[in-house]
């Protein structure tokens, strides 16, 4: 088993009611596994984007990225954009 911290921001944090979740995952878990577990725990998370945009140790990663014990994970909600 391994433990990671998942940071939540903006709308995700508002919906979850917390800025941080500590997650225990099986060894060999990927970001996809984490995404599924986060959606299970926080059913209010918006359906889009799917899959969730995730950063590990402050770098964007894709769904297949392997997680390690102690990783700092963040769910990245869509960034503002704004009209051009």
């Amino acid at each position: 088993m391994m433990r990671v911290i998942v940071k939540l921001f903006a709308l995700y944090r508002d919906l979850a009611g917390t800025a941080e979740v500590s997650l225990e995952l099986a060894a060999g878990a990927t970001v996809a596994d984490l995404g599924r577990e986060m959606r299970r725990r926080l059913p209010r998370l918006p359906r889009e984007p799917y899959p969730l945009v995730v950063a590990v140790n402050q770098e964007y990663v894709d769904d297949e990225h392997l997680l390690h014990d102690g990783d700092e994970v963040a769910l990245i909600p869509p960034v503002s954009g704004g009209g051009r």
């Binding site: 903006a10 709308l11 508002d14 918006p46 950063a55 869509p78 960034v79 503002s80 954009g81």
Partner: protein
């Protein structure tokens, strides 16, 4: 230089930082907070940053600009926290040898910030609030802080 701060930004000082005798042009962009959004009057805004990652992404953008257009003088300053309407949330200042690459680099930086840098903006209205970029989603839980 890269700056992420809750303090009021100083566009003139940041512009001055990219002036150099090797530069024939300085292009400065200011992102300012509008008083309306989607037909609603904005009371104030809140910017939230995942600060360590935002700084890394800003540095990455600066490196890309250096590589692509040879820009050696660049200042990016993003403010976070509560901003009143009419304040400056973002300053991008580019010093370049000629104006073409200055304009191009400045636009690129601004566009990339809005795509990739983990900084989020919340608009607060009289009757609700919304996180920009997530407008389609229910914004609040348990009816707190106004209806979406």
């Amino acid at each position: 230089m890269i700056l992420l701060t809750e303090e009021e930004l100083n566009p003139e000082a940041l512009t001055e930082k990219v002036r150099h005798t090797s530069n024939g042009a300085v292009v400065t962009f200011l992102g300012t907070t509008r008083d309306h959004s989607e037909g609603r009057a904005v009371r104030y805004l809140e910017y939230e940053a995942y600060a360590p990652m935002a700084e890394r992404e800003l540095k990455r953008i600066a490196a890309q600009v250096q590589q692509r257009w040879g820009i050696r003088h660049l200042a990016i300053a993003h403010r976070f926290g509560r901003l009143e309407v009419g304040e400056v949330s973002l300053v991008v200042a580019v010093g370049s040898e000629h104006r073409a690459e200055g304009f191009a680099a400045c636009q690129y930086v601004v566009d990339r910030i809005k795509e990739a840098v983990p900084i989020w903006k919340k608009e607060v209205f009289e009757d609700g609030e919304v996180w920009v970029g997530m407008e389609g989603q229910p914004q609040t839980i348990q009816g707190e802080r106004g209806r979406p």
